[in-house]
Protein backbone atom coordinates (compact mmCIF):
# COMPACT_ATOMS: atom_id res chain seq x y z
CA UNK A 1 0.00 0.00 0.00
CA UNK A 2 2.95 2.30 0.49
CA UNK A 3 3.26 3.29 -3.14
CA UNK A 4 -0.44 3.50 -3.81
CA UNK A 5 -2.08 6.65 -5.03
CA UNK A 6 -2.43 8.93 -2.04
CA UNK A 7 -5.78 10.15 -3.19
CA UNK A 8 -7.73 6.94 -3.55
CA UNK A 9 -7.44 5.60 -0.05
CA UNK A 10 -8.27 8.88 1.57
CA UNK A 11 -11.55 8.76 3.35
CA UNK A 12 -12.08 11.86 5.43
CA UNK A 13 -13.43 11.40 8.89
CA UNK A 14 -13.00 7.68 9.34
CA UNK A 15 -9.30 7.69 10.17
CA UNK A 16 -9.07 4.08 8.94
CA UNK A 17 -9.77 2.82 12.44
CA UNK A 18 -6.32 3.88 13.63
CA UNK A 19 -6.25 5.00 17.24
CA UNK A 20 -5.00 8.34 18.56
CA UNK A 21 -1.61 8.11 20.18
CA UNK A 22 -0.46 10.50 22.87
CA UNK A 23 2.89 12.24 22.59
CA UNK A 24 5.11 12.78 25.61
CA UNK A 25 2.35 12.93 28.24
CA UNK A 26 4.65 11.40 30.87
CA UNK A 27 7.13 14.25 30.75
CA UNK A 28 4.46 16.72 31.72
CA UNK A 29 3.32 14.72 34.71
CA UNK A 30 6.90 14.49 35.99
CA UNK A 31 7.15 18.25 35.76
CA UNK A 32 4.15 18.89 37.97
CA UNK A 33 5.36 16.37 40.53
CA UNK A 34 8.76 18.05 40.76
CA UNK A 35 7.23 21.05 42.50
CA UNK A 36 5.04 18.97 44.80
CA UNK A 37 7.50 17.93 47.55
CA UNK A 38 8.88 21.47 48.09
CA UNK A 39 5.32 22.80 48.05
CA UNK A 40 4.25 20.40 50.83
CA UNK A 41 7.35 21.24 52.90
CA UNK A 42 6.90 24.99 52.51
CA UNK A 43 3.19 24.70 53.33
CA UNK A 44 4.01 22.64 56.46
CA UNK A 45 6.60 25.23 57.54
CA UNK A 46 4.24 28.16 57.09
CA UNK A 47 1.43 26.30 58.86
CA UNK A 48 3.73 25.42 61.77
CA UNK A 49 4.97 28.96 62.39
CA UNK A 50 1.44 30.36 62.08
CA UNK A 51 -0.47 27.78 64.15
CA UNK A 52 2.00 26.68 66.87
CA UNK A 53 2.74 30.00 68.64
CA UNK A 54 -0.92 30.84 69.50
CA UNK A 55 -1.50 27.27 70.76
CA UNK A 56 1.75 26.82 72.70
CA UNK A 57 2.98 30.14 74.05
CA UNK A 58 6.71 30.27 74.82
CA UNK A 59 8.16 32.16 77.74
CA UNK A 60 11.49 33.26 76.30
CA UNK A 61 12.95 33.77 79.76
CA UNK A 62 11.76 30.51 81.43
CA UNK A 63 14.40 27.94 82.27
CA UNK A 64 14.08 24.50 83.86
CA UNK A 65 17.57 23.49 84.88
CA UNK A 66 16.31 20.23 86.38
CA UNK A 67 15.41 19.03 82.88
CA UNK A 68 18.50 20.24 81.03
CA UNK A 69 20.02 18.35 78.08
CA UNK A 70 17.43 15.61 77.92
CA UNK A 71 17.70 13.47 74.76
CA UNK A 72 14.61 13.20 72.54
CA UNK A 73 11.74 11.48 74.38
CA UNK A 74 7.94 11.32 74.06
CA UNK A 75 7.71 14.28 76.45
CA UNK A 76 10.28 16.38 74.51
CA UNK A 77 10.36 14.96 70.96
CA UNK A 78 13.46 17.00 70.08
CA UNK A 79 14.97 16.86 73.59
CA UNK A 80 15.90 19.88 75.72
CA UNK A 81 18.79 22.34 75.66
CA UNK A 82 21.33 23.30 78.31
CA UNK A 83 18.70 25.46 80.05
CA UNK A 84 16.11 22.68 80.04
CA UNK A 85 13.96 24.35 77.36
CA UNK A 86 11.95 22.27 74.88
CA UNK A 87 13.86 22.24 71.58
CA UNK A 88 10.87 21.51 69.36
CA UNK A 89 8.98 24.58 70.54
CA UNK A 90 12.07 26.80 70.44
CA UNK A 91 12.94 25.55 66.97
CA UNK A 92 9.47 26.46 65.69
CA UNK A 93 9.76 29.90 67.29
CA UNK A 94 13.23 30.29 65.85
CA UNK A 95 11.97 29.31 62.43
CA UNK A 96 9.25 31.94 62.79
CA UNK A 97 11.80 34.65 63.40
CA UNK A 98 14.01 33.41 60.59
CA UNK A 99 11.13 33.22 58.12
CA UNK A 100 9.89 36.66 59.12
CA UNK A 101 13.34 38.14 58.68
CA UNK A 102 13.85 36.21 55.44
CA UNK A 103 10.57 37.24 53.83
CA UNK A 104 10.65 40.87 54.91
CA UNK A 105 14.33 41.28 54.03
CA UNK A 106 13.76 39.66 50.64
CA UNK A 107 10.83 42.04 50.03
CA UNK A 108 12.93 45.06 51.00
CA UNK A 109 15.77 43.87 48.78
CA UNK A 110 13.40 43.20 45.88
CA UNK A 111 11.69 46.57 46.07
CA UNK A 112 15.03 48.38 46.22
CA UNK A 113 16.42 46.17 43.47
CA UNK A 114 13.45 46.68 41.14
CA UNK A 115 13.49 50.44 41.67
CA UNK A 116 17.21 50.75 41.00
CA UNK A 117 17.29 48.22 38.16
CA UNK A 118 14.20 49.60 36.43
CA UNK A 119 15.48 53.17 36.70
CA UNK A 120 18.87 52.19 35.28
CA UNK A 121 17.33 50.10 32.53
CA UNK A 122 14.56 52.51 31.56
CA UNK A 123 16.62 55.68 31.60
CA UNK A 124 19.74 54.16 30.09
CA UNK A 125 22.77 56.19 29.06
CA UNK A 126 24.75 57.99 31.73
CA UNK A 127 22.27 57.26 34.53
CA UNK A 128 22.55 53.57 33.74
CA UNK A 129 26.33 53.63 33.78
CA UNK A 130 26.54 55.56 37.07
CA UNK A 131 23.96 53.40 38.83
CA UNK A 132 25.52 50.16 37.68
CA UNK A 133 29.01 51.25 38.83
CA UNK A 134 27.48 52.02 42.25
CA UNK A 135 25.96 48.55 42.19
CA UNK A 136 29.40 47.10 41.43
CA UNK A 137 30.86 48.92 44.42
CA UNK A 138 28.12 47.52 46.65
CA UNK A 139 28.65 44.03 45.27
CA UNK A 140 32.39 44.12 45.80
CA UNK A 141 32.05 44.39 49.61
CA UNK A 142 31.38 40.98 51.21
CA UNK A 143 27.72 40.77 52.28
CA UNK A 144 28.44 39.55 55.77
CA UNK A 145 30.95 42.31 56.45
CA UNK A 146 28.54 45.00 55.35
CA UNK A 147 25.72 43.27 57.24
CA UNK A 148 27.80 43.34 60.42
CA UNK A 149 28.54 46.99 59.83
CA UNK A 150 24.83 47.82 59.51
CA UNK A 151 23.66 45.86 62.58
CA UNK A 152 26.47 47.33 64.62
CA UNK A 153 24.90 50.78 64.20
CA UNK A 154 21.64 49.76 65.93
CA UNK A 155 20.49 48.10 69.12
CA UNK A 156 20.22 44.30 68.67
CA UNK A 157 16.81 43.15 67.49
CA UNK A 158 14.86 41.84 64.54
CA UNK A 159 14.62 45.05 62.51
CA UNK A 160 18.34 45.84 62.30
CA UNK A 161 18.82 42.32 60.95
CA UNK A 162 16.06 42.87 58.36
CA UNK A 163 17.66 46.15 57.34
CA UNK A 164 21.11 44.58 57.19
CA UNK A 165 19.99 41.70 54.98
CA UNK A 166 17.70 43.83 52.83
CA UNK A 167 20.26 46.53 52.17
CA UNK A 168 22.97 44.06 51.18
CA UNK A 169 20.93 41.78 48.93
CA UNK A 170 19.19 44.15 46.51
CA UNK A 171 22.22 44.18 44.21
CA UNK A 172 21.50 40.90 42.44
CA UNK A 173 17.84 41.83 41.89
CA UNK A 174 18.85 45.18 40.49
CA UNK A 175 21.14 43.44 38.00
CA UNK A 176 18.46 40.93 36.96
CA UNK A 177 15.81 43.63 36.54
CA UNK A 178 18.13 45.90 34.60
CA UNK A 179 19.14 43.08 32.23
CA UNK A 180 15.51 42.14 31.71
CA UNK A 181 14.47 45.75 31.11
CA UNK A 182 17.30 46.12 28.63
CA UNK A 183 16.22 43.08 26.65
CA UNK A 184 12.61 44.32 26.63
CA UNK A 185 13.61 47.86 25.67
CA UNK A 186 14.59 46.78 22.17
CA UNK A 187 11.17 45.21 21.51
CA UNK A 188 9.08 46.84 18.84
CA UNK A 189 6.07 46.80 21.15
CA UNK A 190 7.71 49.48 23.24
CA UNK A 191 8.38 51.46 20.06
CA UNK A 192 4.73 51.03 19.21
CA UNK A 193 3.72 52.30 22.66
CA UNK A 194 5.94 55.38 22.31
CA UNK A 195 4.54 56.02 18.87
CA UNK A 196 1.05 55.65 20.34
CA UNK A 197 1.73 58.56 22.67
CA UNK A 198 2.56 56.68 25.88
CA UNK A 199 4.60 58.65 28.41
CA UNK A 200 7.84 57.37 29.91
CA UNK A 201 5.99 56.52 33.10
CA UNK A 202 3.26 54.65 31.26
CA UNK A 203 5.75 52.64 29.20
CA UNK A 204 7.61 51.66 32.37
CA UNK A 205 4.56 50.79 34.45
CA UNK A 206 2.36 49.21 31.82
CA UNK A 207 4.84 47.49 29.52
CA UNK A 208 8.24 47.14 31.19
CA UNK A 209 7.49 46.24 34.80
CA UNK A 210 4.85 43.56 34.07
CA UNK A 211 7.39 41.87 31.84
CA UNK A 212 10.03 42.01 34.54
CA UNK A 213 7.93 41.03 37.56
CA UNK A 214 8.01 37.23 37.07
CA UNK A 215 11.82 37.30 37.00
CA UNK A 216 12.00 39.71 39.92
CA UNK A 217 9.51 37.60 41.89
CA UNK A 218 11.64 34.55 41.26
CA UNK A 219 14.70 36.44 42.46
CA UNK A 220 12.79 37.47 45.58
CA UNK A 221 11.80 33.91 46.39
CA UNK A 222 15.33 32.67 45.82
CA UNK A 223 16.50 35.39 48.19
CA UNK A 224 14.40 34.14 51.12
CA UNK A 225 16.71 31.16 51.86
CA UNK A 226 19.70 33.41 51.44
CA UNK A 227 18.26 35.92 53.90
CA UNK A 228 17.50 33.13 56.38
CA UNK A 229 21.10 31.94 56.25
CA UNK A 230 22.28 35.48 56.66
CA UNK A 231 20.10 36.03 59.71
CA UNK A 232 21.32 32.74 61.22
CA UNK A 233 24.92 33.70 60.57
CA UNK A 234 24.51 37.12 62.20
CA UNK A 235 22.74 35.62 65.20
CA UNK A 236 25.35 32.87 65.43
CA UNK A 237 27.99 35.58 65.67
CA UNK A 238 25.99 37.21 68.45
CA UNK A 239 25.24 40.29 66.36
CA UNK A 240 21.68 39.58 65.32
CA UNK A 241 18.74 38.51 67.44
CA UNK A 242 19.37 38.92 71.23
CA UNK A 243 20.74 35.69 72.72
CA UNK A 244 17.75 34.93 74.99
CA UNK A 245 15.28 35.06 72.09
CA UNK A 246 14.67 31.86 70.19
CA UNK A 247 16.28 32.08 66.78
CA UNK A 248 17.86 29.31 64.77
CA UNK A 249 21.19 31.11 64.73
CA UNK A 250 21.30 31.78 68.49
CA UNK A 251 20.21 28.19 69.19
CA UNK A 252 23.02 26.70 67.13
CA UNK A 253 25.46 29.10 68.76
CA UNK A 254 24.30 28.17 72.27
CA UNK A 255 24.46 24.48 71.42
CA UNK A 256 28.08 24.66 70.33
CA UNK A 257 29.36 24.03 73.87
CA UNK A 258 27.09 21.08 74.55
CA UNK A 259 27.86 19.34 71.29
CA UNK A 260 31.20 18.15 72.65
CA UNK A 261 29.39 16.65 75.64
CA UNK A 262 27.54 14.34 73.25
CA UNK A 263 24.26 16.27 73.05
CA UNK A 264 23.86 15.99 69.26
CA UNK A 265 20.19 16.92 69.28
CA UNK A 266 20.76 20.51 70.35
CA UNK A 267 22.44 21.39 67.06
CA UNK A 268 20.76 18.87 64.77
CA UNK A 269 17.17 20.17 65.02
CA UNK A 270 17.85 23.90 64.58
CA UNK A 271 20.29 22.98 61.82
CA UNK A 272 17.67 20.92 59.99
CA UNK A 273 15.16 23.73 60.50
CA UNK A 274 17.54 26.02 58.65
CA UNK A 275 18.39 23.61 55.85
CA UNK A 276 15.09 21.88 54.98
CA UNK A 277 12.78 24.91 54.60
CA UNK A 278 15.40 26.86 52.67
CA UNK A 279 15.98 23.95 50.28
CA UNK A 280 12.22 23.56 49.90
CA UNK A 281 11.82 27.25 49.01
CA UNK A 282 14.68 26.99 46.54
CA UNK A 283 13.06 23.88 45.01
CA UNK A 284 9.74 25.67 44.69
CA UNK A 285 11.47 28.59 43.02
CA UNK A 286 13.09 26.16 40.58
CA UNK A 287 9.70 24.72 39.64
CA UNK A 288 8.39 28.26 39.18
CA UNK A 289 11.33 29.17 36.97
CA UNK A 290 10.42 26.29 34.71
CA UNK A 291 6.87 27.59 34.47
CA UNK A 292 7.78 31.12 33.48
CA UNK A 293 10.39 29.93 31.01
CA UNK A 294 8.71 30.86 27.74
CA UNK A 295 10.17 27.90 25.88
CA UNK A 296 8.16 25.54 28.02
CA UNK A 297 5.13 27.72 28.42
CA UNK A 298 3.95 27.52 24.84
CA UNK A 299 2.38 24.15 24.41
CA UNK A 300 0.95 24.75 20.99
CA UNK A 301 2.48 26.69 18.19
CA UNK A 302 0.68 26.74 14.88
Amino acid sequence: MTTADPTNDTNPGTGAGAAWRAVGADGRRARTRRGLVPLVLVAATVLAVLVVPPLFPLDQQAVDLAAKLRPPSPEHPFGTDEMGRDLLLRSVYGLRVSLLVGVVAALVATVVGIAVGAAAGALGGTVDRLVMRAVDVFASVPHLLMGIFIVAMFRPGVWPVVASVGLTHWVSTARIVRAEVHSLRGRPYLDAAISGGASRWRVTVRHLLPGVLPQAGLAAVLMVPHAIWHESALSFLGLGIPAHQASLGTMVEAARGTLLAGAWWTTLWPGLFIVVPTLAIAGLAGAWRERINPRRRSELML
Binding site: R187, D191, A193, I194, S195, G197, S199, R200, P210, S298
Partner: protein, 236 residues
Protein backbone atom coordinates in the same frame (compact mmCIF):
# COMPACT_ATOMS: atom_id res chain seq x y z
CA UNK B 1 26.91 60.82 0.09
CA UNK B 2 24.05 59.90 -2.12
CA UNK B 3 21.84 62.01 -4.28
CA UNK B 4 18.67 63.27 -2.66
CA UNK B 5 15.58 61.52 -3.85
CA UNK B 6 13.58 63.97 -5.95
CA UNK B 7 10.42 65.23 -4.38
CA UNK B 8 7.16 64.52 -6.20
CA UNK B 9 5.32 67.15 -8.16
CA UNK B 10 3.03 67.72 -5.20
CA UNK B 11 5.96 68.87 -3.08
CA UNK B 12 6.03 71.82 -0.71
CA UNK B 13 3.87 74.42 -2.41
CA UNK B 14 2.08 77.18 -0.55
CA UNK B 15 0.34 77.08 2.80
CA UNK B 16 0.49 74.52 5.62
CA UNK B 17 -2.20 72.33 4.02
CA UNK B 18 0.16 71.42 1.20
CA UNK B 19 3.18 70.78 3.44
CA UNK B 20 4.60 67.31 2.83
CA UNK B 21 3.60 64.69 5.37
CA UNK B 22 7.24 63.71 5.77
CA UNK B 23 10.51 65.31 4.77
CA UNK B 24 13.88 63.75 5.51
CA UNK B 25 16.78 66.02 4.59
CA UNK B 26 20.31 64.66 4.44
CA UNK B 27 19.69 62.23 7.29
CA UNK B 28 22.64 60.29 8.67
CA UNK B 29 21.88 57.66 11.29
CA UNK B 30 23.36 54.55 12.85
CA UNK B 31 23.83 52.61 16.05
CA UNK B 32 26.49 52.95 18.73
CA UNK B 33 29.82 53.93 17.25
CA UNK B 34 29.65 51.79 14.16
CA UNK B 35 29.57 53.04 10.58
CA UNK B 36 26.35 54.90 9.75
CA UNK B 37 23.49 52.80 8.36
CA UNK B 38 21.97 55.81 6.62
CA UNK B 39 24.37 58.26 5.06
CA UNK B 40 22.91 61.56 3.86
CA UNK B 41 19.49 60.28 2.83
CA UNK B 42 16.67 62.58 1.73
CA UNK B 43 13.09 61.53 1.12
CA UNK B 44 9.79 63.36 0.79
CA UNK B 45 6.28 61.99 1.15
CA UNK B 46 3.64 64.52 0.11
CA UNK B 47 0.42 64.94 2.07
CA UNK B 48 -1.90 62.06 1.22
CA UNK B 49 0.69 60.45 -1.06
CA UNK B 50 1.82 56.82 -0.84
CA UNK B 51 5.49 56.05 -1.34
CA UNK B 52 7.04 52.59 -1.50
CA UNK B 53 10.62 52.32 -0.27
CA UNK B 54 12.17 49.31 -1.96
CA UNK B 55 15.43 47.72 -0.87
CA UNK B 56 17.17 44.47 0.04
CA UNK B 57 17.31 43.32 3.65
CA UNK B 58 19.97 44.97 5.78
CA UNK B 59 20.18 48.12 3.62
CA UNK B 60 18.99 50.43 6.40
CA UNK B 61 15.43 51.00 5.22
CA UNK B 62 14.06 49.90 8.60
CA UNK B 63 16.32 52.45 10.29
CA UNK B 64 14.91 55.07 7.96
CA UNK B 65 11.39 54.02 8.93
CA UNK B 66 12.30 54.33 12.61
CA UNK B 67 13.77 57.79 12.08
CA UNK B 68 10.64 58.88 10.24
CA UNK B 69 8.47 57.50 13.07
CA UNK B 70 10.55 59.53 15.57
CA UNK B 71 11.75 56.31 17.20
CA UNK B 72 15.43 56.67 16.39
CA UNK B 73 17.43 59.86 16.72
CA UNK B 74 19.54 60.51 13.61
CA UNK B 75 23.13 61.72 13.98
CA UNK B 76 22.60 64.53 11.50
CA UNK B 77 20.02 65.91 9.12
CA UNK B 78 16.52 67.29 9.43
CA UNK B 79 13.19 65.53 9.87
CA UNK B 80 9.97 67.45 9.19
CA UNK B 81 6.47 66.17 9.77
CA UNK B 82 3.70 68.16 8.06
CA UNK B 83 6.14 71.05 7.75
CA UNK B 84 7.07 70.98 11.43
CA UNK B 85 10.72 70.56 12.30
CA UNK B 86 11.31 67.61 14.65
CA UNK B 87 13.68 68.50 17.52
CA UNK B 88 13.38 65.49 19.84
CA UNK B 89 12.97 61.78 19.25
CA UNK B 90 11.29 58.94 21.20
CA UNK B 91 9.99 60.41 24.48
CA UNK B 92 11.59 63.77 23.76
CA UNK B 93 9.24 64.30 20.83
CA UNK B 94 6.02 66.11 21.73
CA UNK B 95 3.16 63.68 22.08
CA UNK B 96 1.03 65.17 19.28
CA UNK B 97 3.96 64.89 16.90
CA UNK B 98 4.65 61.28 17.86
CA UNK B 99 1.03 60.30 17.47
CA UNK B 100 0.78 61.97 14.07
CA UNK B 101 2.74 58.98 12.72
CA UNK B 102 1.44 55.42 12.96
CA UNK B 103 3.85 52.49 12.60
CA UNK B 104 3.37 48.83 11.74
CA UNK B 105 6.39 46.56 12.16
CA UNK B 106 7.48 43.41 10.38
CA UNK B 107 7.06 40.90 13.17
CA UNK B 108 3.70 41.14 14.92
CA UNK B 109 4.84 38.71 17.63
CA UNK B 110 7.47 41.18 18.80
CA UNK B 111 5.31 44.24 18.23
CA UNK B 112 2.48 43.19 20.54
CA UNK B 113 2.69 43.12 24.32
CA UNK B 114 2.12 39.40 25.04
CA UNK B 115 0.16 40.10 28.21
CA UNK B 116 -2.59 42.26 26.70
CA UNK B 117 -5.69 41.19 24.81
CA UNK B 118 -6.01 42.29 21.20
CA UNK B 119 -8.69 44.79 22.26
CA UNK B 120 -6.28 46.33 24.78
CA UNK B 121 -3.48 46.35 22.22
CA UNK B 122 -5.63 48.25 19.72
CA UNK B 123 -7.04 50.64 22.33
CA UNK B 124 -3.71 51.31 24.07
CA UNK B 125 -2.93 54.56 22.18
CA UNK B 126 -6.37 55.94 23.09
CA UNK B 127 -5.75 55.12 26.76
CA UNK B 128 -2.22 56.53 26.66
CA UNK B 129 -3.46 59.84 25.28
CA UNK B 130 -6.36 60.16 27.73
CA UNK B 131 -9.08 59.44 25.18
CA UNK B 132 -10.45 56.39 26.94
CA UNK B 133 -14.02 57.60 26.35
CA UNK B 134 -13.68 57.07 22.61
CA UNK B 135 -12.87 53.36 22.93
CA UNK B 136 -16.45 52.01 22.76
CA UNK B 137 -17.06 54.09 19.62
CA UNK B 138 -13.81 53.58 17.82
CA UNK B 139 -12.79 50.02 18.65
CA UNK B 140 -15.53 47.88 17.03
CA UNK B 141 -15.55 49.96 13.86
CA UNK B 142 -11.78 49.83 13.50
CA UNK B 143 -11.62 46.12 14.32
CA UNK B 144 -14.18 45.44 11.63
CA UNK B 145 -12.28 47.53 9.11
CA UNK B 146 -9.14 45.39 9.54
CA UNK B 147 -11.20 42.20 9.57
CA UNK B 148 -10.97 41.32 13.26
CA UNK B 149 -14.37 39.89 14.09
CA UNK B 150 -15.94 37.54 16.58
CA UNK B 151 -14.16 36.84 19.84
CA UNK B 152 -10.70 37.60 18.43
CA UNK B 153 -10.47 40.90 20.30
CA UNK B 154 -10.75 39.12 23.63
CA UNK B 155 -7.78 36.88 22.93
CA UNK B 156 -4.12 37.33 23.70
CA UNK B 157 -1.34 37.27 21.08
CA UNK B 158 -0.36 33.64 21.64
CA UNK B 159 -3.93 32.57 20.90
CA UNK B 160 -4.08 34.07 17.40
CA UNK B 161 -2.16 33.59 14.14
CA UNK B 162 0.51 35.96 12.83
CA UNK B 163 -1.94 37.36 10.30
CA UNK B 164 -4.60 38.10 12.91
CA UNK B 165 -2.06 39.71 15.21
CA UNK B 166 -0.74 41.90 12.39
CA UNK B 167 -4.31 43.07 11.73
CA UNK B 168 -4.46 44.19 15.37
CA UNK B 169 -1.11 45.95 15.03
CA UNK B 170 -2.41 47.78 11.95
CA UNK B 171 -5.54 48.81 13.85
CA UNK B 172 -3.37 50.13 16.69
CA UNK B 173 -1.37 52.21 14.23
CA UNK B 174 -4.58 53.67 12.78
CA UNK B 175 -6.58 54.21 15.97
CA UNK B 176 -5.34 57.80 16.52
CA UNK B 177 -5.93 58.63 12.83
CA UNK B 178 -2.32 59.57 12.07
CA UNK B 179 -1.47 61.85 9.17
CA UNK B 180 1.29 59.48 8.10
CA UNK B 181 1.30 55.69 8.27
CA UNK B 182 4.61 53.82 8.10
CA UNK B 183 4.48 50.11 7.25
CA UNK B 184 7.91 48.56 7.78
CA UNK B 185 7.78 45.21 5.94
CA UNK B 186 4.24 44.86 7.24
CA UNK B 187 3.44 41.84 5.09
CA UNK B 188 6.84 40.09 4.89
CA UNK B 189 5.75 37.27 7.20
CA UNK B 190 2.25 36.90 5.80
CA UNK B 191 0.59 34.81 3.13
CA UNK B 192 -0.79 36.25 -0.09
CA UNK B 193 -4.42 36.51 0.99
CA UNK B 194 -3.65 38.21 4.32
CA UNK B 195 -1.25 40.56 2.52
CA UNK B 196 -3.95 41.59 0.06
CA UNK B 197 -6.46 42.01 2.90
CA UNK B 198 -4.14 44.22 4.97
CA UNK B 199 -3.24 46.37 1.97
CA UNK B 200 -6.93 46.76 1.18
CA UNK B 201 -7.60 47.82 4.79
CA UNK B 202 -4.80 50.40 4.63
CA UNK B 203 -6.12 51.78 1.35
CA UNK B 204 -9.70 51.99 2.68
CA UNK B 205 -8.46 53.98 5.65
CA UNK B 206 -6.35 56.25 3.47
CA UNK B 207 -9.28 56.98 1.18
CA UNK B 208 -11.45 57.88 4.17
CA UNK B 209 -8.90 59.99 6.06
CA UNK B 210 -6.35 61.16 3.49
CA UNK B 211 -3.48 59.52 5.33
CA UNK B 212 -0.05 59.58 3.67
CA UNK B 213 1.80 56.27 3.49
CA UNK B 214 5.44 55.19 3.57
CA UNK B 215 5.53 51.47 2.80
CA UNK B 216 8.95 49.88 3.32
CA UNK B 217 9.50 46.51 1.70
CA UNK B 218 11.54 44.26 -0.55
CA UNK B 219 8.80 43.06 -2.89
CA UNK B 220 8.85 45.24 -6.01
CA UNK B 221 5.65 43.78 -7.45
CA UNK B 222 3.76 44.42 -4.23
CA UNK B 223 4.99 47.99 -3.74
CA UNK B 224 4.35 48.88 -7.41
CA UNK B 225 0.82 47.63 -7.07
CA UNK B 226 0.26 49.36 -3.73
CA UNK B 227 1.94 52.78 -3.88
CA UNK B 228 1.75 55.95 -5.99
CA UNK B 229 5.49 55.79 -6.56
CA UNK B 230 8.32 53.44 -5.61
CA UNK B 231 11.75 54.64 -4.54
CA UNK B 232 14.78 52.37 -4.72
CA UNK B 233 16.88 52.25 -1.62
CA UNK B 234 19.68 52.98 -1.19
CA UNK B 235 19.37 55.47 -4.04
CA UNK B 236 21.60 54.59 -6.97
Amino acid sequence: MSEPIPAPATGPAAGPAAAPALELLDVTAGYDRRAPVLDGISLTVAAGESVGLLGPSGCGKSTLARVAALLHRPWAGAVRLAGREVRGFRHRAPRELRTSVGVVFQQPRLAADPRLTLADIVAEPLRATGRRAEIPDRLPELAASVGLGGDLLARRPHEVSDGQLQRACLARALVLRPKLLICDEMTAMLDASTTAALVAAVEDHRRAHGTALLAVGHDRVLLRRWCDRVVDFPPA
